[in-house]
């Protein structure tokens, strides 16, 4: 496998409705930020990988066709992935695969969603009534987690507050709730019992882009004083929607995917060897669920890390310093944002929400009924554990 690195990261300002831009304008905002960050132009890119969640959300079918020229892909390979909510992560992984396979040298990964153009809840139900929405689908998983871990209900509120406080440090974040507090979360309406409104992700317009290069590209960036994020490992796993005995709270696909990236990266003790993680947490309780399903915490211990404040920015194991999906959720881009934020952390480029001394970070995205998982581990050097 050929080593590769992230040398450019860009994202849009995320909002509930970016009515100031067209869909092309939205993706280009992220792309030019990533290219500027990489000190490249569109002409330097060999191939483009685009990801987004269902085309029905915006009503542009196979948008790799409409957006080919918007992304400067004319005369180049243009690839489209779609793995449900994990798609942003898969976009990064497939872009990395283009380089790791030795077939392309500088690949642009782009992911976006312009949720305001349609209505996700409506599209999820294919235009029929009584759509459960994502919250309705995931609430039972959360109920099961709370029951089996014995976690007190304030854990969910705590994560909701922590991520919104982090978002206040992220200029691109959608939700900026200056007066966020436990009381405010607690007082917010119960949407999908046991999930309250402020424990839920927003619906956002937004895009994210990263530039992935080969080892030479990474070294060139480093020599010019631009720290690359070296991609130590990527992995994906999927499992079927439903069968008797399937456990969506501690999904086998998640455990295997995490084990796979740790093995490739040389990580034997993720809690110690990773400095932070960007985990896909659309509902606050998923932070506890994923801490355990990534073996960062033992089963039943994830909520205790949260309770002790360890996952706060400045804590022993910060999670979602960017504000996470709870603060910005352009669905198709939400996964790539996790991967991009992890890269920025090890590049020391995370601005106000930078984790001090962050050298190794994990990013994950998941999709459908906790079935699709994609992850990568990035570091500020190629062989951090030698």
């Amino acid at each position: 496998m050929i080593p590769c690195a992230v040398v450019g990261v860009g994202q849009t300002h995320h909002k509930s409705r970016r009515r100031d831009v067209s869909v092309g304008g939205l993706v280009r905002e992220a792309v030019f930020r990533a290219l500027d960050d990489a000190e490249m132009t569109m002409a330097d890119i060999d191939a483009v990988v685009i990801g987004k969640a269902p085309d029905l959300f915006e009503g542009v079918m196979k948008p790799e066709l409409y957006l080919s020229d918007a992304l400067g892909a004319v005369g180049k390979p243009m690839f489209r992935v779609h793995t449900a909510g994990s798609v942003g992560g898969t976009t990064a992984i497939v872009a990395a695969s283009h380089v790791q396979a030795g077939k392309h040298r500088r690949v642009l990964a782009v992911a976006y969603q312009k949720q305001s153009e349609g209505n996700a809840q409506f599209a999820l139900g294919s235009g029929k009534g009584a759509s459960l929405g994502a919250g309705g689908a995931f609430a039972p998983f959360i109920r099961a987690y709370i029951h089996r871990s014995g976690a007190p209900e304030h854990i969910g509120w705590k994560v909701a507050v922590k991520d919104r406080l982090n978002a206040l440090k992220n200029p691109y974040a959608h939700l900026k709730i200056e007066d966020i507090s436990i009381d405010k979360v607690k007082a917010s309406p119960m949407m999908w019992d046991p999930i309250r409104f402020l424990e839920s992700c927003p619906s956002s317009d937004g895009a994210c882009a990263v530039v992935v290069t080969d080892e030479e590209g990474g070294r060139t960036a480093a020599a010019a004083g631009r720290q690359p994020a070296w991609i130590l490992a990527t992995s994906s796993r999927s499992e079927p929607p439903s069968f008797p005995g399937r456990d969506p709270v501690r999904p086998a696909a998640c455990l295997q995917c995490a084990d796979d990236v740790y093995r490739q990266a040389g990580i034997t003790d993720p809690r110690r060897q990773l400095d932070m993680a960007e985990l896909y947490v659309p509902f606050s309780w998923h932070e506890a669920i994923w801490l355990e399903a990534h073996r960062i915490a033992e089963p039943g211990e994830g909520w205790r890390m949260i309770d002790r404040g360890e996952t706060e920015l400045g804590g022993a194991f910060p999670i979602n310093c960017s504000g996470g999906v709870l603060s910005s959720n352009p669905i198709g881009a939400s996964g790539l944002l996790r991967f991009a934020e992890a890269a920025n952390q090890v590049r020391g480029a995370a601005g106000e929400h930078q984790v001090d001394g962050c050298r190794t970070a994990l990013a994950m995205a998941y999709g459908a009924n906790s079935q699709y998982f994609s992850m990568w581990v990035v570091a500020d050097r190629l062989h951090p554990f030698d």
Binding site: M1, S22, V23, P54, D55, L56, F57, G59, V60, M61, K62, E64, L65, Y66, L67, S68, D69, A73, V74, G75, K76, P77, M78, F79, R80, V81, H82, T83, A84, T90, V94, S97, H98, Q100, A101, G102, K103, A123, L124, S126, S235, S236, R237, S238, E239, P240, P241, F243, P251, A252, A253, Q256, C257, A368, N369, Q371, Y372
Partner: protein
């Protein structure tokens, strides 16, 4: 090419190609993946990576591909991906993935039931959302405008197009066909593809494993795809520059090919592609009948690669497969498969 590993097609299968299937896409895939693996002596447990190609708008359901995970044997969980593209691009992702060097066997699929909706109402949704989709600009209209350009350039005429139709379908008479009404001038019914439901699955393996499993692997020696700008208003429709670039990058000119399988859903597309690829009379084109005979959207391109692989399985040396997407051949993929002779 700098290929670090040999990667080969070692088998593939397709479902019966029908006007209407009564099976779900998942059921189609369940059957066709089994049919692709069984003759090679493999099971789903042997497969290291799967990549599926399908399209929500064809199904009319967001996240329609999720239930297709039921078909791949993803328990225990599997390395897996999905492209909202023809299965030929799923093959490209799997080919990249195998090049990474840590795994050996991949299965890719393409599947679609286009019989459930009216393509002339669905396909405008893939067009420019501001200038073209609101006009209901449909694929047959764009094909007709491209056919006019191809005819004007002297690359085709209505007779040669009808000849393509007769040869592809193995039925009909050119003079009779030319007496038919236009659907969109200069296209008549025979110039258009049928509506087909179906799925295909293909098995890829890295060199050593491929040679253990089958007598004649079809090595992928060239693989490339390119796109063009979207709106046909800005393109020269009598050309296909993305096909030309992809073919050069895939090494088409390195050695003669014996057969070509082109994803030409409209008759003039075959003639344009032959012209752009510089295929001479000695090259057998679309002996299978191509997309004019069977056109299972999202699998049609992958099936071209399967047919090219069949040529190698059957004793041939080198074959080309082409897949396409978008209006007026916007995006094109070239895959070259060979026997092992030129390889080692």
């Amino acid at each position: 090419m700098g290929t670090s590993r040999d990667i080969a097609v070692i088998g593939w299968a397709q479902t019966p190609m029908v006007r209407h299937t009564e099976l779900t896409e998942t059921q189609l895939l369940m059957q066709v993946i089994t049919d692709a693996l069984t003759p090679i002596g493999l099971t789903r447990a042997d497969v290291d990576f799967t990549c599926l190609g399908s399209c929500d708008y064809i199904t009319g359901q967001a996240f329609s591909f999720v239930s297709n995970l039921d078909a791949i044997g993803a328990w225990p969980p599997k390395r897996d991906s999905h492209v909202e593209m023809d299965g030929a691009w799923a093959l490209y992702e799997a080919w990249l993935r195998l090049h990474e060097g840590d795994i050996d066997i991949a299965v890719v699929t393409g599947s679609g039931r286009s019989s459930t909706g009216d393509p002339s109402l669905i396909y405008p949704m893939e067009m420019d959302p501001f200038f073209l989709a609101p006009l209901g600009a449909d694929p047959v209209t764009f094909a007709a405008l491209q056919a006019r350009a191809v005819i004007a350039a002297g690359i085709a005429d209505e007779r040669s197009m009808a000849e393509v139709a007769v040869r592809s379908r193995g039925t009909g008479d050119v003079d009779t066909l030319l007496g038919g009404d236009y659907v969109r001038q200069p296209l008549r019914r025979h110039d258009l593809p049928p509506i087909t439901d179906g799925a295909a699955a293909m098995v890829l393996a890295t060199g050593e494993r491929a040679r253990q499993l089958v007598a004649r692997p079809a090595y992928i020696t060239g693989f490339d795809h390119r796109t063009e700008c979207h709106n046909p208003s800005f393109r020269a429709l009598d050309d296909s520059p993305s096909t030309r670039i992809a073919a050069a990058a895939a090494g088409l000119g390195d050695a003669p090919i014996e057969v070509a399988e082109l994803q030409a859903a409209f008759t003039h597309e075959e003639l344009l592609l032959r012209h752009v690829l510089g295929l001479g009379q000695e090259v057998i084109v679309n002996a299978s009948g191509g997309a004019l005979r069977e056109n299972p959207i999202m699998a049609t391109g992958l099936i071209r690669i399967g047919r090219a692989a069949d040529h190698v399985f059957g004793g041939g040396r080198r074959a080309l497969a082409h897949a396409t997407s978008g209006p007026c051949l916007q995006q094109n993929l070239i895959c070259i498969v060979e026997d092992g002779e030129g390889q080692r």
